[in-house]
């Protein structure tokens, strides 16, 4: 069996085309930047009948060149992916093989986009996202990794090998190397090469997405619960409570993040049980939040409220106890037959510290929004009606602050991803063999000047996910400002 080349058979046709188109695109981008200085901004010109007419002359020509070369570039990238999708590594080499492995993700992405665009007028803010190109690109990148994590984590589909298995003779091998001693049913190549412990780089990158996609949104959600539950009263009541909570928030923010991680995320600290106690405190906030939210809305209908609260809070408290109590840690209250799941010490401490770092910033944002919104007329109206303070905070102020909060949520998931990577980069928290992106980058960087392939795929994966989240936030902001 032969080692794979980067582009395989399709490369003989597509590679020269790609070079030509890329050069054309680069030239037209440069030309358009220069022309925007020389000819001024692209102002729309109108013909005698009031219709907009195409810009003529050199600027118009540059514009056309830019548009067409951009479409050509997108087309050629799609061509690579399509070849890979249909023929896999046989037709498309390494790129084709990778694209072929991601086949379920492509299908899921196409289905999502087609359905969303068809029904975008009935989908509220989510549908509006599909009016902006930036938002769509961002959403596409984010969903790419979400689907990858889904198919890898649940259906075990995309990865070609086990992320922890070491195969002798595959240490630091370049991308496309034939698997040493491949048996029937094995994928016969290391698509993106082997790392310095002879594990498959591609599979590790794909598996790494699961850790990020599971932890980052949940940690951000918890940080939002903490931030909202404390920030709303701080902004609404003001006074001593506000001073105290703001002081606490500023105190945490004055810590350099990495110092905090080094203090909190060590095996010694896990031994003392501090992460378990912190988790016990922080995991209460979602219960508090939901409890107050429902109670303030329905307390006038006790017949409906009481069963609702008992049901919802009962389930949440059960989950809370299962999450907090684990065998062999500081808190072990629940008998084993009631314990739904255990969070392993490494994940718990990472989760808790990430929530801890994020919540003060969310607190400050929510407090600022509450300070602004509480002066509005509808809040005064609610006060005149005699609504309770928590009703006003959660059902009048919070829904009207949702725009900035949703945008910040997207940005913050990206930031949390970066924080998780930082933790992995310093080897804190997760076990060293864990395939998460930060740890893989940290391992790969040690031999970076000789072997590039172990460090680059996780780095680019992390970059694309965070970029997607930032673009998504930008698109959401643009679209929510339009109303």
């Amino acid at each position: 069996m032969e080692p794979l080349t980067w582009t395989g058979a399709a490369g003989t046709v597509l590679n020269p085309l790609l070079i030509i188109i890329a050069v054309a695109f680069a030239v037209s981008v440069l030309a358009s930047i220069v022309s925007s200085f020389v000819f001024g901004g692209g102002r729309i010109q109108y013909g005698p009948d009031g219709m907009a007419v195409a810009t003529g002359g050199l600027p118009g020509l540059i514009n056309k060149a830019l548009t067409y070369s951009f479409y050509a570039l997108v087309g050629i990238v799609l061509a690579y992916l399509l070849v890979g999708f249909f023929t896999g590594h046989r037709g498309g080499g390494i790129i084709g093989g990778v694209a072929g492995q991601f086949a379920p993700v492509w299908v899921a992405l196409i289905v999502t986009f087609v359905l969303s665009i068809l029904f975008k007028r009935n989908l509220g803010l989510y549908g509006k996202l599909f009016d902006s190109v930036i938002g769509m690109v961002g959403f596409g990148l984010v969903m790419f990794w979400v689907y990858t994590a889904l198919f890898t984590g649940i259906f075990d589909m995309i990865a070609t090998h086990d992320p922890l298995t070491q195969v002798s003779g595959m240490k630091n091998k370049v991308p496309g190397t034939v698997l040493n001693g491949a048996e029937e049913g094995d994928y016969a190549w290391y698509l993106l090469g082997g790392d310095n412990l002879a594990r498959d780089v591609f599979s590790r990158m794909v598996e790494g997405s699961v850790t990020v996609i599971v932890i980052a949104p949940f940690a951000t959600l918890f940080a939002f619960m903490v931030g909202i539950t404390l920030g709303l009263p701080a902004g609404y009541y003001g006074g001593k409570l506000d001073t105290f909570l703001s002081f606490l928030a500023n105190l945490i923010l004055a810590f350099p993040v990495i110092l905090l991680f080094y203090l909190l995320v060590t095996p010694e600290i896990v031994l003392t049980g501090i992460p378990s106690y912190m988790a016990a405190v922080m995991f209460i906030f979602p219960i508090l939040f939901v409890g107050i939210l429902l109670n303030s809305r329905y307390y006038t209908q006790p017949n409906f409220r009481t069963p609702l609260l008992i049901g919802v809070l009962g389930i949440m408290i059960w989950f809370y106890l299962s999450g907090v109590s684990a065998k062999g840690t500081a808190i072990n209250v629940l008998p084993p037959f009631l314990d739904l799941f255990d969070i392993s010490g490494g994940i718990l401490v990472v989760f808790v510290s990430v929530v801890f770092v994020n919540s003060p910033t969310v607190f400050r944002i929510v407090r600022g929004l509450a300070l602004d919104i509480k002066t509005r007329d509808y809040v005064a109206a609610a006060q005149t009606r005699g609504e309770g303070p928590w009703y006003i905070m959660l059902w009048e102020i919070l829904p009207n602050a949702r725009g900035p909060l949703i945008v910040d949520f997207c940005l913050r998931v990206g930031y949390t991803t970066i924080l998780l990577g930082t933790l992995g980069f310093f080897g804190l928290g997760l076990p060293p063999e864990s395939p998460d992106w930060g740890s893989t980058i940290n391992e790969g960087r040690k031999l970076l000047s000789i072997y590039l392939h172990p460090a680059l795929p996780p780095a680019l994966a992390l970059l694309s996910l965070v970029l997607g989240l930032n673009l998504l936030a930008d698109g959401l902001r643009e679209e929510s400002l339009k109303d």
Binding site: S36, L259, Y262, T422, I441, L452, A459, L463
Partner: protein, 348 residues
């Protein structure tokens, strides 16, 4: 104004006290002390030996007493071991018993002794801070002008193609954490197999002799992450200023576009980025830790990692005091500077 600064200084001192106490508490938890005893003494010590090692050196005293000693409000600890060596937080090698001061804490100007580097914390922090100072200076020289130029160019004609391109660039840089951009830069510019080999992938030699070759990549790596954020803030503020009434008036009077940007818009547009730039200092501190680890430049960030990794209590406290002062001072400067730059805000 004077009262405002005084109050802020009071809050600063309170914050610094709380913070150092938290650090002190976490580093003095028993498992951490046990690790310290084992790395300083002997890896194979039994549990009783660890406890007696810690007791002999005063580590088992109540937390507040120990914190008081570090601050310099409680008398220093000293003890003579069985083999006749004297230990204690005021004891320095080569200083006679009767010359040893009774108090030796922060108030007396003594930062303690690092257990990893076996040197005065003050000296270590000063030296490392000097090295990081050069890095920060170079980063600021690249980042601030770069970000302001990108932001102003993007914001002066909102929605133009130049704006779209530059905005995408700045979003991309904010999405690239230092450990990703550093790896990519090393791969492109420093790799010995495929790269361009323009620069060096390590900055160790820059500690003695800063050259173009060994300092470019670390500086670029830190600068890039912060640049996008400042550029976006500048763009937003510039775009807002460009829609103001007085800009329209200037246009209608026939002032040329470059004059409008340079003379009318720029000064007002730079108020908001000033605050952001000052608040970037704490972020730079993070970047510095990552980049110094990645490029092996033994500055302040590298010291933080060493101190934290080895539970070097007094060095870690010194490092946290310095970083807290940096964070809070920049906040104070940004508040005061904002008031001076923006005549619409007055602190009563």
């Amino acid at each position: 104004m004077g009262l405002f600064i005084l109050r802020r200084l009071g809050v600063m001192i309170l914050t610094a006290l709380c913070l150092t106490f938290v650090v002190f508490f976490l580093t003095n938890l028993f498992p951490n002390l046990e690790k310290l005893a084992k790395t300083q003494g002997n890896q194979r010590m039994s549990d009783e030996q660890v406890v007696s090692w810690l007791e002999n050196r005063g580590y088992m005293d109540p937390l507040f007493v120990k914190y008081g000693r570090w601050l310099g409000v409680a008398p220093g600890f000293s003890n003579t071991l069985d083999d006749g060596t004297r230990v204690g937080n005021c004891v320095r090698p080569g200083v006679a018993e009767e010359d040893t001061p009774r108090f030796c804490g922060l108030l007396q100007g003594s930062w303690g002794l690092s257990t990893v580097f076996r040197d005065e914390v003050g000296t270590i922090v000063g030296k490392r801070l000097g090295l990081t100072g050069w890095l920060m200076l170079a980063v600021m020289c690249v980042m601030v002008p770069g970000a302001l130029i990108i932001g102003v160019l993007a914001g002066m004609r909102e929605g133009s193609r130049l704006d779209r391109t530059l905005s995408t660039v700045s979003i991309t840089t904010t999405a690239t954490p230092e450990y990703v951009s550093g790896v990519i830069f090393i791969a492109i510019f420093a790799s010995s197999t495929v790269g361009l080999k323009w620069f060096k992938g390590t900055a160790t030699s820059a500690m003695d002799n800063i050259t173009w070759e060994n300092f470019t990549l670390p500086v670029l790596t830190i600068a890039l992450y912060g640049m996008g954020y400042i550029a976006r803030m500048t763009r937003a503020s510039m775009a807002e200023v460009m829609t103001a009434q007085y800009i329209r008036t200037a246009r209608l009077k026939g002032v040329s576009f470059s004059n409008i940007v340079m003379k009318h818009a720029l000064r007002n547009a730079l108020i908001a980025p000033f605050t952001v730039i000052m608040l970037q200092f704490p972020w730079l501190l993070n970047g510095v830790v990552i980049v110094e680890t990645l490029f092996n430049y033994k500055g302040f960030g590298w010291t933080l990692v060493q101190a934290a990794g080895n539970n070097d209590i007094e060095l870690l406290l010194g490092v946290s005091v310095v970083s807290v002062i940096v964070v809070l001072t920049t906040q104070l400067i940004s508040d005061i500077g904002y008031v001076y730059l923006n005549p619409r805000i007055r602190i009563s």
